[in-house]
């Protein structure tokens, strides 16, 4: 199966050229195949978030190559990078990060509005379908502050799927939820992966959840120590 993501010798340093230059990632190699369901684990300060930001094209690596959906991200401009990110990667954050001024339906439609991907009616229809799929058909017009934590995370998942991206990055998607809600959200991600064929890379502290993923990467001090 074609890889959706390839990381080749990714290094990341901060304060380059100064006396306090620090290397956070020391040559990471990862390959995710299309439709995979993977976990990225590691203790705090191991570089998980930095790696996720690099994979999400939110910050550039100091060296190494990143190929996403067959396209290398080396030497491309910010606008192209933004477009590549918007169309190929969906994000689910720990604190859902919904836009408080918009209701659930509008939050889900937002990626389509940004990229002018679908006509408004078609976008609305797809957003309704997605919210229905995550069990929020009754909460379309509710603002984020009217929803529970679990419901907000479901909206964030629906938003990540709006443009049908080949890869979804989830940063501690269950970290802010109780055990029951966390389990439900994880099951939902598994279900989407199996039915839609979308690849997931999930950052988590929870080793129990991580073991439920088909593939796992463990990061310690900026190096992959083991894969499972």
């Amino acid at each position: 199966m074609n890889p959706i993501l390839q990381l080749k010798h990714i290094r990341k340093s901060y304060n380059i050229g100064t006396s306090i230059e620090t290397e956070i990632l020391h040559g990471i190699d990862i390959e995710l195949s299309s439709g995979s369901f993977s976990a990225l684990t590691g203790p705090s300060g191991s570089g998980k978030s930095t790696l996720l930001n690099i994979i999400g094209l939110l910050e550039p690596p100091t060296s190494g190559e990143l190929i996403i959906a067959g396209q290398s991200t080396q030497n491309i401009g910010d606008d192209q990078l933004t477009k590549l990110r918007g169309l190929n990667i969906g994000f689910v954050f720990q604190f859902h990060h919904l836009l408080p001024a918009f209701n659930a339906l509008e939050n889900v439609m937002m990626p389509s509005i940004i990229h002018r991907h679908l006509e408004r009616q078609a976008a609305e229809k797809r957003a309704q379908q997605l919210l229905g799929a995550v069990g929020l058909a009754q909460a379309l017009y509710k603002k984020p502050n009217e929803l529970s934590g679990g419901m907000q995370q479901r909206v964030a998942i629906a938003r990540a799927l709006m443009l049908n991206p080949p890869l979804v990055l989830a940063d501690e998607p269950t970290g802010n939820l109780d055990t029951h809600s966390a389990d439900e959200i994880f099951k939902l991600l598994e279900h989407i992966n199996q039915t839609e064929g979308i690849s997931f890379l999930i950052v988590t502290h929870d080793m129990q959840l991580a073991r439920r993923c088909g593939q796992g990467f463990h990061l310690v001090d900026g190096q992959l120590t083991q894969s499972f």
Partner: protein
Amino acid sequence: MSLAFEWLLAIRFLKEGRMQSWLILAGVTGGVAIIIFLTQLINQLQGTIIDRVLSSQAHIVMRPAEEAVLRFDQADTLTAALIQQRGQRLRSIDQWESFAQLARTTPGIKAVSPLATGPVFARNNLASKSVVLMGIVPEDYLNVVNMNRYLVKGRFDIGSEQTVIGTELAKDLGVNLGDRIQVVSESGVVQNLTIVGLFDINNKDLNKRWVFTQLRLAQSLLNIPGGVSSIDLTVHDLFGAKLLAQRLSKQTGLLVESWMETNSGLLNALSNQTVTNNLIRVFVVIIVALGIASVLVVSVVQKQKEIGILRAMGATQQQVLRIFLMQGAIFGSLGSLMGVSLAFALLTLFASIYKAPNGSIMFTAQLDPNLVVMASIVALLVGILAALLPARRAARMDPVQAIRS
């Protein structure tokens, strides 16, 4: 290019920070209203003042050049001399008809009226007053100063033995419409005149001193047969009068003065008023710009997490920039719309309160369309320019830092 996303975000962010939005909108509205109100007020009041001053006087007056004492020096002698200024006697303009004709054909000149004016005495029984005899060709003079506007009694219908005098003079001499007065010249010639009209020109001194007669009679009484002492002109462009006067002076060699020189004090006052108004406008624009910029800077800081999320979802720097520029434009355009309405309300209120001492209207609530368009364009541009700095800050925000904030 569809700007649906940018508009949606711009408006929704403004709605979200409702209190801030209303406050800055009130600021822009107030700024636009102050600019329009003050400009309209000052323009109209200046217009009224100029109209009142100039409606009773010529815009340009041509007079004979002043007589000067000429000094005769011998080539080989050094002479210490104290030159006494020569007294100016009443003189006629040589070849005045040709100069009047020249003035009539000069572009920019609206009307020409020859005058023979000079000092005489006006008498009625024991009352005697020193006055200025105004010898005119009525149909010409009415084109320069519309005396009909100032008539309080009778008609401005001056015949060979008829006169029109001011209300103050009539009071001083104890006469009224239809009465006769005597006009006595310097040389002692006496002429009886019947009063056919009384005027009030809003100037007490002129009401006391002007006595209108036919040009021919004045020429005879002032001893300048066939001559005129001045030629009064009006122009189409009031503020072009000075240049026209300079041109006519060069062409004729006469002493030609415009209203701008004879009323230089008034003109300075008006010009100072305009400078003050412009300064107020500049400061208001700066304050409004700073207000918009500060609110948007705060808004950018408050919204940085949302900006980060939007950037993560694929919003480009240009799209984020446009969101905040549009907010500036919304403040500018809505503020100018509301400001125009507020200015009109203020003008209406002011017009109803502010009246001339005699109760007449000094001011009408009118909006100059050019001023409204200009103020709206300025408000829009100021809104966009003031938003530029915060918008650039938002666009350059690092999405990772923004989301973490």
